[in-house]
Symmetry: none
Subunit: 199 residues, 2 copies
DNA sequence: AAAAAGATCTGACAATTGTCACCTCACATC
DNA sequence: GATGTGAGGTGACAATTGTCAGATCTTTTT
């Protein structure tokens, strides 16, 4: 099967290309450093599978998956990512992505997932699928914005100015968010929300 | 030459192992997922070169480099990282690291750097070396640790317990660090220090 | 040996942050 | 027209955080 590898870090891109090149049954037919480059290669020579990272500049792997779903629906998309954020998983599943690979998983997981995808299967760890289900972001829009700014080190007064709210209201939002996320303070809350992909 | 690869993401670790395995003259004699595991492998079977990522949980690649410099000074250390933070580069050079590889560089850069290191050379991009020059980390060791924990959302009391210091002393350290970094509070200070590679 | 320089600690104080109960106003619904 | 409901606000209070001026007790320097 023909695979196109999309990953922004050249060293990792090359290393994964080399890894897959060793597998019998897999031909690496292209390497792209972001979604735009990948689309150009796909137009010329559509592969069977596009294996793409999610976090990339210019165009993320999920945006690439959306584009492929729209214009090249016969191509299977497999995404890789460092972070098992429930938001990512949910979007990927909605976009018809065939496999969801975490970079913490061993190389054998990747190769066997690619083989399974060629047989028409979907590959996703059950626990990740569950994460997508209970991806219920409890934060309101204002809470989200307040927590994000707080996570960048802004003081309450500045956050209030930025959001055009009173200082007290901002404190209320932050307090709410801290409670909802079971955090101990605003920094902790920001950390938790980031980790879930909510801010 | 015998190379030990240290990288926390299994997929990337395996892929780099596979890449280096293809090179004639390179034997990948071990794969470790963090500094602790690497040290255990080194004790049994010291390689010629340790190729390590910097950003890792438990023990960072730079902490590993320090440990190797102290106890296994004949081993060459090569670090890889996504971020060209001036603090990383400076610390790496101070720790006797032989080559500094960015993950955005192509795979050939890595393989040729490893070959050069075996010939006793040092490999670092001139522009990165320059970054190291104008990097003056003003933080003391204790301040660094305190700020890092604060950046993770820990309250003063917990930080004090972790560092075996009194609460007041921790507040002093944080206050000092905030002043030195021209920050407005502990979160802001942590953000600045992270970006420079000081924590 | 005296002086200087550290690191840690303490206590006091002000500023910021976190929590909570309750207020107001607009706007949709019954 | 009465009633909810939700966004935004206020004020009060406690807890945490930030600042600073010493106090102790090592080390290091002179």
């Amino acid at each position: 099967m023909n695979v196109l590898v999309v990953e922004d870090q050249a060293l990792v891109r090359g290393a994964i290309g080399s890894l897959l090149g060793l597998e019998s049954g897999i031909d690496v037919v292209g390497l792209a450093e972001h979604g735009q480059a990948a689309l150009a290669l796909i137009a010329n020579n559509p592969p069977d599978i596009v294996l793409t990272d999610i976090e990339m500049p210019e165009m993320t792997g999920l945006e690439l998956a959306a584009e492929i779903q729209r214009h090249h629906s016969q191509i299977h998309v497999v995404v890789m990512t460092t972070f098992s954020k429930s938001g990512y998983i949910k979007r990927a599943l909605d976009l018809g992505v065939k496999a969801f690979i975490l970079k913490e998983q061993p190389t054998e997981y990747l190769t066997s997932a690619l083989a399974a995808v060629m047989q028409g299967k979907r590959v996703i760890e059950p626990e990740l699928a569950l994460m997508a289900l209970d991806d219920n972001d409890p934060l309101s829009d204002k809470e989200r914005q307040a927590i994000r700014l707080a996570g960048e080190g802004m003081a309450t007064k500045l956050i209030a100015q930025r959001l055009c709210l009173s200082e007290g209201t901002v404190r209320n939002y932050l307090s709410e968010a801290i409670a909802k996320l079971n955090a101990t303070n605003r920094i902790d809350a920001a950390r938790i929300a980031k980790q879930k992909g909510w801010i």
